[in-house]
């Protein structure tokens, strides 16, 4: 394993397999880089920009940049963490996020990132967009107020479920999720509770009806461990991972 190529992340060596991105290699080596729209099972696209890192001063998204031997990557710096805090504030500001009443509280990646990065204030004037919910489906609620436009449900439905239940429409600040039915309502799509798309929402948009708050707040995923620790447990490990 010692012959694997390496790059430097914040001054420490990270080994990687050819083809791995900076983020994949870092997570596999037990090194955390904050991220939101990245999910190990899907092709990264780099839209949330939380994983922004610098290679000799050049800014890149760690989730889309292939690792190369000898790269010197900076991630855990004050400037980059300040950038991430600002991006989290922006995501909170553009949607309608009310953590105390949200079913996803404690399981929410956006909330967990806010805690972990030390986001202490709103920072920006909130936009309070008007985004009606879609409660048409008997078993599923879509609460678009919380959407962070990560496209994970779009990718999961298309790539895993082979259904394309979700897509994006509009542009700029008006960009929004749409569902695949003539009526535009979820009830008229072919989504099922067993779909991959049901599992991947990092916030609280895609909600199963009648099972809310089954796990009490305080005992949920990121209540137990901060996301920086949890994300490392979730990372796919190479078979020959060194201890």
């Amino acid at each position: 394993m010692n012959d694997r190529p390496r790059f430097l992340l914040d001054g420490q060596e990270v080994p990687f397999e050819p083809g791995q991105t900076l983020l994949q290699a870092a997570l596999a080596a037990g090194r955390y880089i904050p991220h939101l729209c990245y999910h190990p099972e899907f092709r990264p696209h780099g839209s949330c920009k939380l994983c922004t890192a610098s290679i000799n001063g050049r800014m890149v998204t760690a989730c889309t940049t292939p690792a190369a031997a000898g790269m010197e990557v900076a991630s855990d710096t004050e400037a980059l963490n300040e950038l991430r805090r600002t991006l989290v504030q922006m995501l909170f500001a553009e949607g309608n996020h009310f953590c105390p009443s949200c079913e996803a509280s404690g399981n929410c990646v956006l909330q967990a990132l806010g805690y972990d990065l030390g986001v202490l204030t709103a920072g920006f004037r909130h936009m309070f967009p008007i985004r009606p919910v879609d409660a048409s489906h008997p078993d599923i609620l879509l609460d678009f107020n919380r959407c962070v436009l990560c496209e994970l449900c779009v990718r999961a439905s298309k790539e895993v479920d082979g259904k394309s239940v979700f897509a994006l429409s509009g542009r700029g600040i008006d960009k929004h999720l749409v569902v695949n039915s003539e009526s535009g309502e979820l009830a008229d799509t072919d989504i099922e509770l067993s779909d991959k798309a049901m599992e991947v929402c990092p916030v609280g948009v895609i909600i199963k009806k009648r099972v809310g708050f089954a796990t009490p707040i305080g005992e949920r995923r990121y209540d137990r461990r901060p996301i920086s620790a949890q994300a490392l447990d979730d990372a796919p490990q190479p078979a020959d991972k060194p201890e």
Binding site: G46, T86, A93, S169
Partner: protein, 630 residues
Amino acid sequence: MAKDTAAHWATPETSRQVAEVLERWDNDPTHLVQVLREVQEHCGWLPPAALTTVARRLKLPLAAVRGVAGFYAFLYTEPAGAYQVLFSDNVTDRMQGSEALMEAFCRQLWAEPGKVSEDGLVRVDRSACTGLCDQGPGLLVNGRAIPNASSRRLDLIRELILERRPLDAWPVELFEIVDNIRRPGILLGSNVRPGEGLRAAFERGAAMEHEQAANERSWREGIPDDAREPLAMLREIERSGLRGRGGAGFTTAAKWSACRASPADLRYVVCNADEGEPGTFKDRVLLASHADLVFEGMTVAAWCVGAREGLVYLRGEYRYLLRPLEATLEQRRAAGLLGRNILGRRGFDFDIRIHVGAGSYVCGEESALLESLEGKRGIPRNRPPYPVTAGYRGRPTVVNNVETFCAATLVAARGGEWFRGIGTPHSAGSKILSVAGDCARPGLYEYPFGISVQEVLEDCGAERTLAVQISGPSGHCIDASEFRRRIAFEDLPTAGAFTVFDDSRDMFEVARNYTEFFAHESCGFCTPCRVATSMLRGIMGKIHGGRGSLHELEQMSRLHPVLQMSAHCGLGHTACNPVLDTLKRFRPAYERRLQALRFAPDFDLDAALASARRATGRDDAGAHLETGNE
């Protein structure tokens, strides 16, 4: 109303037209944007039933089709009125009075901006710069460009609309757009004949000694005779020092060589005619009056890299150029300059198709342009891979600006040495400037690179000039202390916009117009650009409304590094430039608007109580906040 339009859509006539459109585009999902645009030309908008038919026939999810339709400003998924009248909203249009004209026009038609009138007749709205800055304000009526909006011309337009006269029967002089070439140079004054550049390129190849390049990669499988000949032309481009005219200034020879060197079964040449940078209109004139130079440059590029197919991405605002351009393509085919065995060269086959955009500035970014050409939402791609290795349909693709292809034709015809002799050592050749704003003679000025801003200002008859916006909102704003600077890649690089502001102008309002532009055009893919451009627009609006404080200035300077560090493409990187440039040079224009040094809320609590006062019939002092009168 909804029923009426659904019934309208259901006529056999329209469903036949939709079927024809789909047929014409081979039922190919990668032509979705073209299909939607043409369906809309028949139906006036994109009715749900039409989208369903399109989705079914192209075997695409309906949600994906809606997603594409919802991305482009000129595609309407709701009834858009029998007449859509869009007022170009560049800062030069505003300086020419567009806002007052639009207000009066709306008032006379009882129309509210952005909404279809109750009788379904008309919808009036704003649109990003239409490229008519030298003869503005510009209009788009049902997609057709109309220059020189004035109350007299708008009176006529209103009458034509009220009598529901079809656009084809409107007086032709309404649509007359002039070139305004004020200072021709090597491109605008070119007398290169169609085919001259290509013939010169072939002769160069023939003269080259064959064994010299014996170990080079084959130009195209199966045509060994031609394998190395294009290298001579490629070297000529290299010798010329030609760099891209779209703004980034990438070396053209390097781009073409990289495309040629990428192994592939097919390669493409794409002409970026999505001239969206506000204040730029040179490509409009090149396409209108020098289309042969453009197409010949594309053909020379195809010869150099081994491409069989070329595409022009024509911005939707220039839809009126489509027919003349297609006529030119037809002439070139008839003359043997396009098609099979071009000019008798066995195996050199190349042809050009034109795609028309549908209202999106970000599609001028080359990888977003490729996405749009493939029928998708115009989102810039992650790079690498770059288009030269994986571009259109994943094949190696050369993407160049209209002006770059024109210059390449000149290099082919006149030689690289000649071209390099013009301009400066780092910036060979000429640059066409789109001069507009406060000057006596707006129009196109072509200079050798290295011309100073001051000289341009003198030539165009600008007086009492306060500032010049070089290369549009994504470029830079300079003041009088910098007018000695030169137009060149090494000093003031530009895609061509040269917008002049005299000392009567309020530079805060200029910057506010540009922040509105960026917010409107952000594709929304990445967090920083999607949110920050919208925040910038909101903050500038708040200051404009007299409720700004130092807090707002601090917020804006906080957004800039976020955009610089993390935005996905150039739109986001530069979105804060107009504010920072003007704040640095014209700070009083901001400060005199600030209400307080500390924070002032935008929300007016006393005004919000008005409905409660109305409901209770009270208007005494006790029904007002004490702070309300401050």
